[in-house]
Assembly symmetry: D2
Homo-oligomer: 337 residues x 4
Amino acid sequence: MDGKIKTGVIGAGRIGRLHAENIVNNIREAEIKAIADINTENVKDWANELGINNVYDDYRRIIADPEIEAVLICSSTDTHAQIIIEAANAGKHIFCEKPIDFSIDRIYEALDAVDKNGVKLQIGFNRRFDHNFKKVRDLVKEGEIGTPHIIRITSRDPEPPPIEYVKRSGGIFLDMTIHDFDMARYLSGSDVVEVYTNAAVLVDPAIGEAGDADTAVISLKFANGAIGVIDNSRKAAYGYDQRVEVFGSEGCVTVSNDTPTSAVLSTQSGVISDKPKYFFLERYQDSFVTEMRAFFDSIINDSEPPVNGVDGLKPILIALAAKESYETGRPVKVEEA
Amino acid sequence: MDGKIKTGVIGAGRIGRLHAENIVNNIREAEIKAIADINTENVKDWANELGINNVYDDYRRIIADPEIEAVLICSSTDTHAQIIIEAANAGKHIFCEKPIDFSIDRIYEALDAVDKNGVKLQIGFNRRFDHNFKKVRDLVKEGEIGTPHIIRITSRDPEPPPIEYVKRSGGIFLDMTIHDFDMARYLSGSDVVEVYTNAAVLVDPAIGEAGDADTAVISLKFANGAIGVIDNSRKAAYGYDQRVEVFGSEGCVTVSNDTPTSAVLSTQSGVISDKPKYFFLERYQDSFVTEMRAFFDSIINDSEPPVNGVDGLKPILIALAAKESYETGRPVKVEEA
Amino acid sequence: MDGKIKTGVIGAGRIGRLHAENIVNNIREAEIKAIADINTENVKDWANELGINNVYDDYRRIIADPEIEAVLICSSTDTHAQIIIEAANAGKHIFCEKPIDFSIDRIYEALDAVDKNGVKLQIGFNRRFDHNFKKVRDLVKEGEIGTPHIIRITSRDPEPPPIEYVKRSGGIFLDMTIHDFDMARYLSGSDVVEVYTNAAVLVDPAIGEAGDADTAVISLKFANGAIGVIDNSRKAAYGYDQRVEVFGSEGCVTVSNDTPTSAVLSTQSGVISDKPKYFFLERYQDSFVTEMRAFFDSIINDSEPPVNGVDGLKPILIALAAKESYETGRPVKVEEA
Amino acid sequence: MDGKIKTGVIGAGRIGRLHAENIVNNIREAEIKAIADINTENVKDWANELGINNVYDDYRRIIADPEIEAVLICSSTDTHAQIIIEAANAGKHIFCEKPIDFSIDRIYEALDAVDKNGVKLQIGFNRRFDHNFKKVRDLVKEGEIGTPHIIRITSRDPEPPPIEYVKRSGGIFLDMTIHDFDMARYLSGSDVVEVYTNAAVLVDPAIGEAGDADTAVISLKFANGAIGVIDNSRKAAYGYDQRVEVFGSEGCVTVSNDTPTSAVLSTQSGVISDKPKYFFLERYQDSFVTEMRAFFDSIINDSEPPVNGVDGLKPILIALAAKESYETGRPVKVEEA
């Protein structure tokens, strides 16, 4: 097993476990040496089953282990920046789940530590690794649609999160649309410079009472002159709706939803096909493997990770601008945020 | 032939001829008694071929003919209001091409004349009669998608009109988006109360020099709380792109473009299907027949025409608000217009 | 109106009326001078409405009218050959509904009369003029799929005809599959040389009692070496199913069913789209106009009609071979028929 | 690791390695204790990488190991029956790649040994575990299409195998169509009782010189009265074409090809979407995992494997009948084979 990149996973919730399993099953170049979680009892059996023997309640044991070259930060958002700083100072390469933090200052501190120590940092915007969206980006980059004019992103959840989660989430723009802001930058190859938010509470009044919106159309201006629009809903009755379109001077590329099967049933009642894959874990299953592979490749090849610290920062700035636009009812420049 | 509604057509350009031919070939309940056009020489052969013997250079001969019950106003926009007023005062039912006028005051004068004389007035928003869009409206009305939350309209022309036309057109919002504003009202079953325009000159700098935009994303707020977005381009390389989507509490309905055939060719180079029907005359061919039928039905049944004077006025108000939003960079309430 | 081809319509049932209306509304180069039907009472009002003043009970008055250049034979099948012979001898161009006759000898007599008199004869295989199938043929002819290897035709009716009709129909192969045999020749550009029929009574036992089958898979060998298969059913619960596919050395072209609209409704219950157009009159509406235009064009340009007498004969030979194969359980060469 | 089913893999070619990797990465209930291959040198590094330490050149060491409960037979076809017999006699559960053997007598010997020893035997017809085909089967079984009338299977390879392989393959019916014969039984829930083969050499004359065909349409009769058709080609220019359709009294279910992405590119040249997944390893990737899981589930739950010995035998009988039909030019009953 020598030669494998020894890796520590910090936080063994849903997403931490997913990454760990993907590494064990799919990434031959890495091995997980240790897992840290504040609640080791819940984690041990699962870790054992995966063949991971070191389970700590203190992530600092991972940071302190000189054999560990890479860490995955999958703990709660409020701990991300602190762990990035500590891991960077310990010379470890870092994969961190999004968002880095809700505080811009804190993000800059974390990015500074990464820069100073010359370690890799990749942020968990997994949708960039989705087969469909990557194909769109590739076609755009290859010039197949000419110069991008209009970027359109539809992103609708199958159901709203629990209201307690909504209250702590930072709001729809920082919690949900943040993925779409990243996608907007990725697909257009340009930065978002101004946003105008048209949002409402149409799904659940409790979300409004928590000070948040659940339905939104967000208009975007890009640095390269293109314009864009994201539409979001917290509840699509038919499942997880994830589509994008880039329209340009020479054409248009569109992706539709993935479905469990291609079966089409025609009866007297109509012609019925599959609903979209229902949940992000199914829909983006492969993208999580691909992003892990990209992270370890950037370590092995000593190359820039495909989603770096700035890519982690920018969507948060856009989200803050979108939030301000929602609150003030006027378009907001991202640099104001 | 008795019992047929004797009809006069005013203006025998492209759209006037289209309506005339549709009436002759498809509307058994009507007959065209006379055509008026300022240039009778160009019109006579075509009219003869159709079996229309009376070709006048002065539309007032149609207005003055007591046998004529209905007129189609297909002349240039600046003449619409005046002819509506004269026709209404002569007791004739009126089908008028969109827009009624660019002046709101002038529109009110025309609508007043219609009201005072108790005649029918139908405005030529033909897309309401398109098979696809009508099906969307029907599904929405029947509650199949629950309460509408997000209305999305894509409307892109295959190529920009000549620059001379652009200069006289009143701008993209009054010339092109006006159909989409009507569609927004039609599909949502609600009025647009506020718009925010994000527009740019990306297709042809000459359009910008003429003071107009050629690419736009327009964000909408509806009276019923729904939100919407229209995206426009003056040039889609692949042809005429006309799609809509209504998303609601219980589901979503989407229509895609019509194509000449359903043929799909699979070769080593890829899987290739037809481009959308290229031009509005092909795409909306049937809708023009259906709107004519609806007009004559409203006369025969003495019922309200399906696109009345207020339906003609409202999209102009929205377009003026969209234009102001483009010029000021802020959201604009439609009632401000 | 001079210069128009004066035309007589013989038989004013469903298909005769359809052709007559299509000519009146769409074919400027022709006019209908007279209609003959054994039951003039049912026909007069309809003919009047269309502006056709001469309604005869004896088709010979049409044959005898020297002004009439072209006749449409839309009467019952058993009269086709006789009327072709009389019309040809009277020097009239002939459009005849399929099939020419069930007797091969009788067909040869009719074709001989056509040849001898040098008149045009077009047979009513309207599907060749369908937008979808014509596109497939064009792509095949242009070599887009290379050399044809496999021709696949699916043709299923929405419901079986009345059992009385079934008894007189000549059986499914002569009544229904005959269109598909024509399509097989048209799409492949080659003749069918051998058939093997695998058929059953699965829809309605009464059809079996009448000596007929209602479900069939018919395997074809073509003169050019290609192979093919037709599948038929008298009852598709979801409507009229009309698809073809041609697979060749360089690729494959497929057409799917036409639908009333492109609307797709996504709800918790599934993703639902339109059923195929239900009936042949809707599905093939435009093809009937196009075939009429082709007939009159062949007269005007003095060119071979696109579906000539031999094209009318061949599908009958194939149908007879298919029937024999069904009865004997072995493959049958078409030349045996 | 106790409690895991200790498994031996016999034959470490492409398919043996695929199964081994799938077990290691996805089947927690099994572990691979040993691999046997006649050429251990090629296998060792790969096995080591997977964490498999025992690599034998003689499969009998696996048969002799009392700890090993299950074996996967992935060696060449001519060894299958012999190894089945030895493994069954040693009391091991068996997963065997298709076909069991080309000799019916030899298959019966193998199945007898399985029966006598009461071990499980699953045959590697992986397509039954494909998400699309399984959905079709489920819908048929649930009665969604009523009684099956017509079963249609399209199965075309992206390119022919090397001519040396063709010569040893047993011919297209035993090598390629055998999967489709299994699919026919699976989808219809009935047995094939008679076949008629219409085949030709259209792809490569060398295949004909080897006594084989490369293009085929095979007509099927089922015990339950349904009829069916399979079409095969050794070379589809656009990739691996795998579609099925079941049509019945109440409707029809169809599946289309899986594609790498859902991207649709619209430009002036046309509307282009992805070709099918090119090769069976990509197309059926998930099905191989699912079939392994089903095999181990049948051991754990002591239930009948979903593709048993009879399911392995029947497609061979059908293939032999299809071959005889091709050679004699007449329909052949399967019981004759």
